[in-house]
């Protein structure tokens, strides 16, 4: 493997720490940055520093925010009986874009996955139980991804919530809009059948 002078090498290795970035992409990014005007590069560096300094996790829902509690948690017009549990902060943005949900959120920051060293105590779950026990919550919607780990985490959460007498629901997963049943793989199709609803 070709090694570059130490500061280039360090930059490449820094990029490689990001998810989904291998050495090849890291190298491309590093050289791209080195070829930028100096100010542009400084702008990027500064925005990383700023974000890191100013962004904190919301003490209520766990979302990333620059105010605590975050904007959503401080919005009193929302439906306080609903909490939607998501896997990652980015998922909130996706839910918000639908314009169909007006309750509050809770971010787990991952799902339970013992093979990756993530146990039940390593995700943001205790505070969810506190929230449910201290507030008048009627329904918790589990919007975690439909992977094996997501399903198991959802089952685990619903078990923990059982004593509180709240409704626990799971969002339906299925065929993407605009796609054809014929070309939908069986896993997705099976999910769609599982999540079907009565229309008559």
């Amino acid at each position: 493997m070709i090694r570059y002078t130490s500061s280039i090498e360090k930059l490449i290795e820094s990029f490689m720490k990001l998810p989904g970035i291998g050495r090849k992409t890291a190298k491309r990014l590093a050289f791209h940055i080195l070829e930028m005007p100096k100010e542009k590069a400084e702008e990027i560096a500064q925005s990383i520093l700023d974000a890191r300094k100013n962004i904190i996790t919301c003490s209520v829902c766990g979302d990333l925010t620059d105010t605590d509690p975050c904007r959503i948690c401080s919005d009193k017009r929302r439906d306080s009986a609903l909490i939607c549990v998501v896997q990652e902060p980015g998922d909130i943005m996706a839910m918000e874009r639908t314009g169909q949900y007006f309750g509050y959120y809770h971010v787990l920051h991952g799902v339970i996955s013992p093979m990756d060293g993530i146990g039940p105590n390593d995700i943001n779950l205790k505070s969810l139980l506190t929230r449910v026990s201290e507030n008048d919550i009627k329904e918790v919607i589990l919007a975690v991804n439909p992977t094996v780990e997501g399903e198991a985490t959802a089952m685990y959460i619903s078990k923990l919530l059982a004593p509180f007498g709240v409704t626990v629901s799971r969002i339906a997963h299925g065929i993407p809009v605009g796609s054809d049943i014929e070309y939908t793989d069986e896993v997705t199709l099976a999910k769609a059948i599982e999540g079907r609803r009565v229309i008559r």
């Binding site: 013992p114 093979m115 146990g119 039940p120 094996v148 399903e151 198991a152 089952m155 685990y156 896993v187």
Partner: protein
């Protein structure tokens, strides 16, 4: 189902080689270690997405060249439609391509091409450990039912998670609750795996019995039974049974830190004339039993998919007398057959149909 031609690039001891096949009988011959089995292996991979010899794709890259990839490209016809399957492997991983469309899930390759492989290793289905019988059954069901492939994938993932959880350091109430959750989930998925195995096995039981009795000249009766956690079971309340067994074994599992209950531990009991074939079967009985099981699978495959699988016979005919050789070829007279052997004179003497001969030497087809 007919394989028309096969092109191997950097696969095993082939650098770049195209092989053409006839609709009927094809005999690949040559000395040992020349690359005959490699051809059958690559064809079989197009139906199972796995090699019968290894789970490591890297092993199949030609190590005598500098390239770090291989490509298998197979043209075939299925219900009179021409199709192509490509399997590519390089340092980024495996790619499965059907008619130039990259399949996003391996399972999508299943049921697009059907083949059945007979090899001398089939004896291990009978005399090997339980894992040999599970693999034999699982590989077969996957080939005819891609839903089963996904089910198995899900179950194996759960299994990995549960073993990691059992091995994770401290026992805590959270860990135990989580294991209960996994157990419920595994009982659900695991019982579906077992249900499918049971239903295929039920079908195999009768057919294998008839086939085995026939090739043993009426002397031997074979019986197959599914064994869950050391006990024969039928398809009654599998989920409940598994749930119960998981509950019972939890303490032991926590102590030993391994998953002790589920389809990954099960077995298929094979009896010949009421005796366990694995321990008491003679060499001849074991060979006949393995052959019967495979022949039976060919029947089921055809019934389930409405198309005759390509029959791959790797070095097995030479072990049989001319009478049995004929019987097999007769049974598959409407299938395409690809046979490998070292001595072509000893195979199908005086066969009156036409045979295509393919001579292999050091990873090359010699014409």
């Amino acid at each position: 189902m007919i394989v028309k031609s096969l092109t191997l690039t950097n696969f095993r001891n082939y650098v770049q080689q195209t092989v053409e096949f006839d609709n009927g009988i094809n005999i690949i011959h040559g000395k040992n270690g020349q690359g005959k089995t490699n051809i059958l292996e690559s064809i079989f991979m197009c139906s199972a997405a796995k090699s019968p010899r290894t789970s490591n794709f890297k092993e199949m890259v030609n190590m005598d060249t500098n390239d770090d990839f291989f490509v298998i490209s197979m043209d075939y016809s299925f219900r009179d439609m021409d199709s192509n399957i490509k399997i590519k492997y390089d340092n980024r991983g495996k790619t499965f391509i059907y008619n130039d469309i990259v399949l996003d899930k391996v399972g999508e390759l299943m049921t697009r091409f059907l083949s059945i492989l007979f090899t001398p290793e089939d004896l291990y289905i009978i005399k090997g450990g339980p894992e040999c019988r599970r693999r034999f059954l699982d590989m077969f069901i996957c080939q005819v039912d891609k839903g089963y492939f996904y089910l198995l994938q899900k179950y194996n993932r759960l299994l990995k998670q549960k073993s990691s959880c059992l091995k994770a350091d401290a026992d805590s109430s959270e860990k135990e609750t989580y294991i209960h959750v996994l157990n419920d989930y595994m009982a659900d998925i695991g019982s579906k795996v077992i249900d499918k195995r049971l239903s295929v096995l039920r079908e195999m039981k009768e057919k294998t019995y008839a086939i085995h009795k026939n090739i043993s000249n009426g002397l031997e009766e074979i019986d197959l039974n599914y064994v869950f956690s050391g006990k024969k079971i039928d398809d009654h309340n599998v989920k409940e049974t598994m749930n119960q067994k998981l509950d019972e074994s939890l303490e032991k599992e926590l102590l030993r830190k391994v998953c002790l209950v589920g389809p990954h531990r099960d077995d298929i009991e094979i009896r010949i004339n009421e005796k366990d074939a694995r321990t008491f079967g003679s060499q001849g009985q074991i060979r006949t039993a393995a052959l019967s099981l495979k022949l039976c699978q060919a029947d089921i495959m055809e019934k389930k998919c409405g198309e005759k699988p390509v029959v791959l016979l790797d070095d097995v005919l030479s072990e049989l007398d001319i009478g049995r050789q004929r019987a097999i070829v007769e049974k598959f007279q409407k299938n395409q057959i690809i046979i490998t052997c070292t001595d072509k004179e000893k195979i199908l003497e005086n066969n009156n149909g036409s045979i295509r001969y393919i001579f292999v030497q050091k990873g090359k087809i010699i014409v």
